[in-house]
């Protein structure tokens, strides 16, 4: 058996979708963290120009969509992770369906607010 078991959706409930997105966003965040730390720790330019030029690319309007997706991954992973921790302690298990809906709404609201702020910062 393999990780393809994470991606079975047919006939499954929203909990399976939440599980798969939790895994996927975890992998995305891990790759981002590794790339981020690798880039920062291998900077040889002590003047800071290489760093500044990279930052200039990442805060540009063209790059915004990637930033927004990364923030979505982070927010979803954090909020959904909190929901899972609650259930893992045996809390609110019977209310798992409304809780999933509430946490999904929180994810969307936080992400939309963050997107608005980031869009404003790029001069929108």
């Amino acid at each position: 058996m393999s990780v393809s078991g994470w991606f079975r959706f047919k006939g499954r409930s929203l909990f399976s979708w939440a599980f798969t997105f939790q895994r996927l966003t975890g992998v995305v965040l891990l790759i981002y963290l590794l790339a981020h730390l690798t880039y920062l720790s291998t900077l040889l330019d002590k003047t800071g120009l290489t760093y500044e030029s990279m930052i200039a690319i990442t805060v540009s309007r063209q790059f915004l969509v990637f930033d927004l997706l990364l923030v979505l991954c982070g927010v979803f992973h954090g909020v959904n992770g909190f929901r899972i921790i609650l259930h893992e302690f045996g809390i609110a298990y019977e209310n798992r369906k409304p809780l999933l809906a509430i946490f999904t709404i929180i994810t969307v609201v936080v992400w939309l607010y963050a997107s608005y702020i980031m869009y404003s910062l790029t001069g929108g």
């Binding site: 058996m1 393999s2 990780v3 393809s4 078991g5 994470w6 079975r8 047919k10 006939g11 499954r12 409930s13 909990f15 399976s16 939440a18 599980f19 939790q22 895994r23 899972i84 259930h87 893992e88 302690f89 045996g90 298990y93 798992r96």
Partner: protein
């Protein structure tokens, strides 16, 4: 007429076969499978026994969801019904899957009352209040049909994983006030293939035909196991 698309397996290859069944009100998927076996193809293999949702033998994937064939009404499924063997199990033939490993895992968690000083020559009654019974009653309803195991992503990625059904049985006995074997079971549950492998997809509770809530049992067992480890670390 309802079209039945059945995923068959002859030991070498897997293929789809379609049959038309004259469905009528009240007809279950199991009855439709018997109709196919008796009228079209006697080689169609499937497991069934009680025909009343008690034995759990006829669990199979019906329209992409694990269900008991004997409790699923054909007319609620539309014009085409897709029938497949359960996921996460090795297929032996057609809709029959290998359950030996599943039952071995169930046996591994010692699903019986463990008493330290029972005298079988002079048996005594073990009293229990209704509140004590309610602590575990829900989890006694498991019929070991394997539906929960078939949708579990942890079981899909690790063959050794005990699975929701076995851990529900473990919790059922750990929560029983008459039982004295909790420590033994907590040790089994805290193994690498035990409670820590559950990633709480909660799909097991969604598909359980008896509404046993296996995911809840696994989390409660996890909590008890964690406290047991903590206690043993502190020497209590």
């Amino acid at each position: 007429m309802v079209k039945f698309r059945i995923r068959r397996y002859n030991g070498k290859k897997s293929y789809w076969q379609t049959f038309e069944v004259p469905a009528k009100r009240g007809m279950t998927v199991l009855e439709a499978l018997y109709y196919i076996k008796e009228n079209y193809d006697s080689s169609l293999a499937f497991r069934a026994s009680c025909r009343m949702g008690i034995c759990g033998s006829c669990a199979m994937k019906i329209n992409d969801r694990p269900r008991l064939a004997c409790e699923t009404q054909v007319l609620t499924l539309g014009n085409t019904v897709k029938v497949e063997p359960l996921d996460n199990f090795k297929v032996i033939k057609d809709l029959i899957t290998e359950f030996d490993e599943f039952f071995e895992k169930h046996k591994a968690v010692k699903p019986y009352l463990i008493r330290k000083n029972d005298n079988y020559a002079e048996p005594k009654e073990l009293l229990q209040t209704p509140k004590e019974l309610n602590e575990y009653y829900l989890f006694t309803l498991c019929i070991k049909c394997g539906a929960c195991y078939s949708v579990c992503p942890a079981a899909a990625t690790l063959d050794e994983y005990l699975g929701p059904a076995a851990m529900t049985a473990a919790y059922r006995f750990c929560a029983d006030s008459r039982d004295e074997g909790q420590r033994e079971r907590y040790q089994i549950a805290s193994s690498p293939s035990g409670v820590w492998r559950c990633h709480l997809a909660m799909e097991c509770s969604e598909v359980c035909p008896k509404n046993v809530e296996p995911a809840k049992a696994v989390q409660l067992l996890r909590r008890k196991t964690a406290f047991s480890i903590l206690k043993s670390l502190l020497g209590w």
